[in-house]
Amino acid sequence: MLEKFNGEWTFQRAAHLLRRTTYGPRKRTIQEALNLGLDASIDKLLSEPDPVSLPVYIDFEDDPQATIGQSWVNLPLDENIQGIFFGRGKTLYSWFYDNCHKEEFNIVNKLSLFWHNHFAISDDIGPQMSWDYLNLLRDYSLGNFRALTKKMTINKAMLVFLNGNENIEEEPNENYARELLELFTIGRGPLAGEGDYTNYTEQDIAAMARALTGWSPWNDQTEGHYRTWAHDKTEKQLSHRFNNRVIEAGQEEEEYVNVIDIIFEKDEVARHISRRLFIWFVNSDINDEVEQEVIAPMAQLIIDNDYEMKPAIKALLSSSYFFGDDIIGCMIKNPLDYLMSLTNPVQVRVSQNIVYNYRAWLLWHWTLEKMGFSLMQLPSVAGWKAYYQEPGFYRDWINSASLAVRKKMFASFHYLYVETDPATTGFDFVSYIETLDYPLDINSLITEVCEVLFPKKLSQEHIDLFKNSVLEGLPDFEWTVEYDAYLQDPTYDKRQAIESKLSNLFETMFSIPEFQLS
């Protein structure tokens, strides 16, 4: 059994839970979790999310069936219309980020991204297939792993990406079968002999590839369809790694289900996915202790629940290991997390107009791409290096070029939001601090903000550094005087003066190395 956390439920721990399961938690959300307590917070995080709105056109005007502000999802696509693929496809990025921004108290977006990284794709597959793929991840984010794997095996985007569409009886293509075993389900073990990867062998790849022949994405439905002419109808012999099982002949379109069921009979599948979840939510170091005390009980929970993932994820997030002092803050934020931790906690006012709002997210998308985070275009089928590449793991996000981009993002806010909607301003720190408990007191203001922004308590020297960025050596009470003067007589000039001081403060906070950690 995974040891459950039974320590004191504090603001810092509630914030840790939300940082790892949502994007850039706001103070109000952390406070709510604190009031709810650990169990109720996790129940809320893992509850069924409300339906989200469909992606809408943001600038494409040439589709006679839908115009700007309306959704294109499930509408036929006329390939002759110039630019329609891109006009639709790019709105999916905005849709995804907007969900991360809005769904404050639900794990669904962190889990969707987990599955996106797990069943990684990187292909120009067209907007409808991309939508169906993203929707599948969302629908199954807390569902049954085996069922998701079955769905993914005949998912159209995946059929294109790993050449399932070319996998026909005459010329079997092993790409999907190989990744299915190596990355998606059981995982590659140590090399035990030629073509023998402990958990499976080359023979199994070849046999399963043949069993998966016959599927094509080229249709008008949401899933691939089966073509009996392209299917290898002979029986397939598996290796001793699968107990010399035979995939029986003549199962036709049910055969892929049988393949997945055979793989999932192996307990190693549960351990493999547990390790992936651990790296995603907890830490990159899977040592013997973690194997025994976290991975093994998680895997057992997954097996006991017939590959329903919710109980294991719940146990992981409620565990004493997850709330370990050195686990809090040990993960370098990926670029999306970084963006959201600039946007959400200080309550940047995004446009209320969905079109303008989507345009702003799209501009951020190009920034994220510059830092190596490209939704739907993962660097490889193994996903982002940060979640598998030893020994650096999360450190892969950090280099001199990506740091230059991270640094510049602060300055982009104003421009980016005013550009997309003149009614917004990007950062609005004056409005934000009004939501704090004691904004008139500079020490209280800084401490309160730090609790939300940083995973660990910072030193007094840090507090002094931040204070100095506002007061530049003046005594503390000068802040109270200036801010009070503004409150008494909120003229534009006074507001701007306060905003500019606060801008210095937040830029200093966002710039220190500690802010890169979650």
């Binding site: 040990c330 070029a401 190395p513």
Partner: protein, 519 residues
């Protein structure tokens, strides 16, 4: 714990799997003297043609032109539109700049470069080209990273320092290059925009806790500091440096090469620059319908050719031409046949270009043989192992001894002369003599005999690959006396189809296309 000693500990802690538990810094310190000649100010510029460049439409083999036109009707460029280079090779019409480099004796082309046992996956192939590993081996380090590790043990801990203020390598782009990945850290500084690096705030220095959080924070602080420290001389060099060419195209590559010229002329001592030109994965729309001289591939080659020519001329104008060597690489070539989408699919080997004032100019290796019946999966077979090109560059340009090259890259390393004494233009070009080899019978059904004539005693290596470049077997190395020899290859167990036998003798290699028939 103090920061420095803590970093030492984390280093040893993080790497037992890579080095069998040895402490990296300790073992590295025991290594012999550095191989890099400190006086050397030589610079290597790599251009990654990402996606898999279609070598057959880059350097078009004229001896196989008609068969090629049959096999790839959708993308074939009319012979009249090509730029003539040699009697047997013409260039894509957009490669006038490359032609000029060749005419000025500044270009060496090595034909049929690939890796053994081709995989045809982008990701895996790119990893192989970066790491210079065998196909079935996963090496975490890059080929240049290993070279630099050997010379600068202890990196990154004690760097930059007063002796080495400048970054060892620079990647122009958003990510650090896998070629420069060392055992502990990547040697390259990534620069997206040279006006905008460094200046990172490290906040307040505190002692790092000895736990996961402390380790990640220590890494961040260290990276912030190194970025700032390395940014300083880079910014200085860009400011002090110069560019005397206005012929660079208005492209990212053109701009980046111009910045590289500025950095070199501004005194930056960086030894390696890595640039990337993406978009070569031309499955579709490689050419436009109705005009095969236009299209995505034409745009890419135009950009590449103009950028390289401008760079080379800029270096000459700046008086730096003898200090810089450039090299292109790409993860694989493309199939011989074209597809109906006006493109070409993943293939096997392709030519590499090496440019600079000091190359031995000319063409190394033979044109690929294009048969009248081309298999749908057939690519250009590997003639030269890419690690032989890398290693020859290390030997000739960075003066790395051959034995060291073999440990860094592969024991199968084959030296290919790359550099002359910075030859003057229009001097005699070395065109490789063709190996005298024949295979008989071809097509074959059972056994096959390779006949070869040697003018002197030589050791040879042979291997056999299938139509997709997958290694079937190593036929083994042996030493033969001068004279004519017959090497027997057992072929009765091979399935019918196309095969390639590759023979390596001394500095030369050749691949012969074989057809196995059913009867």
């Amino acid at each position: 714990m103090k920061r420095r000693s803590f970093l030492r500990n984390t280093t040893a802690f993080a790497l037992p799997t890579l080095l069998g538990g040895m402490q990296v810094t300790a073992s590295a310190a025991q290594r012999m003297a550095a191989l890099i000649n400190e006086e050397s100010d030589r610079v290597l510029v790599l251009i990654d043609l990402n996606g898999g460049n279609d070598g057959l439409n880059t350097f078009v083999p004229l001896d196989g032109y008609d068969n090629l036109a049959n096999a790839r009707p959708h993308v074939m460029i009319p012979q009249s539109k090509l730029i003539s280079l040699t009697d047997t090779i013409s260039l894509h019409p957009e490669l006038q700049g490359i032609k000029n480099l060749y005419d000025n004796a500044n270009l060496k082309v090595i034909q049929g470069v690939g890796y053994p046992n081709q995989n045809r996956s982008h990701f895996r192939s790119a990893d192989i080209w970066n790491s210079a590993s065998d196909t079935d081996v996963f090496k975490p380090t890059g080929w240049l990273g290993r070279y630099l590790d050997d010379n600068f043990p202890g990196f990154p801990e004690d760097y930059p320092n007063s002796d080495y203020r400048h970054p060892f390598a620079i990647t122009m782009g958003k990510s650090i290059s896998g070629t420069c990945q060392g055992e502990e850290s990547n040697f390259s500084l990534a620069i997206l925009n040279s006006n905008d690096i460094g200046g990172l705030s490290t906040g307040i220095e505190t002692e790092f806790t000895d736990d996961y959080y402390g380790k990640e924070l220590a890494f961040l602080v260290d990276t912030f500091k190194k970025t700032n420290a390395y940014a300083e001389p880079v910014i200085e060099a860009v400011e002090n440096g110069n560019s005397l060419s206005n012929a660079y195209p208005e492209t990212a590559l053109g701009h980046q090469l111009q910045v590289v010229a500025r950095m070199i002329s501004g005194g930056l001592k960086t030894k390696i620059y890595v640039l990337k030109l993406g978009g070569f994965d031309t499955h579709a729309d490689q050419v436009v319908d109705g005009d095969t001289t236009q299209g995505e591939h034409a745009e890419l080659l135009s950009n590449l050719s103009q950028s390289i020519e401008a760079f080379q001329n800029d270096l000459k104008a700046l008086g730096l031409e003898k200090r810089v060597l450039g090299m292109t690489f790409s993860e694989f070539g493309r199939k011989i046949i074209s597809n109906a989408g006006l493109g070409t699919d993943h293939g096997t080997a392709a030519p590499m270009m090496i440019f600079g004032d000091c190359v031995i100019p000319g063409i190394t290796g033979a044109n690929p043989e294009i048969a009248d019946q081309v298999d749908i999966d057939e690519g250009v077979p590997m003639q030269y192992d890419f690690r032989s090109v890398y290693g020859s560059v290390l030997m000739d340009w960075f003066k790395v001894p051959e034995e060291k090259v073999k440990t860094l890259l592969t024991p199968d390393f084959q030296y290919i002369p790359i550099l002359g004494e910075c030859l003057i233009p229009n001097s005699t070009r070395e065109i490789d003599r063709q190996l005298r080899l024949t295979a008989k019978p071809n097509p074959f059904s059972n056994n096959l005999i390779i006949e070869l004539t040697l003018t002197e005693k030589a050791s040879i290596k042979m291997d056999l690959s299938d139509v997709q470049g997958k290694l079937i077997r190593n036929i083994g190395g042996r030493t033969l006396q001068a004279g004519t020899h017959e090497v027997n290859i057992e072929g009765h167990d091979l399935a019918a189809g196309i095969y390639f036998v590759r023979i390596q003798i001394g500095n030369e290699s050749k691949a012969i296309r074989l057809v196995k028939s059913n009867h």
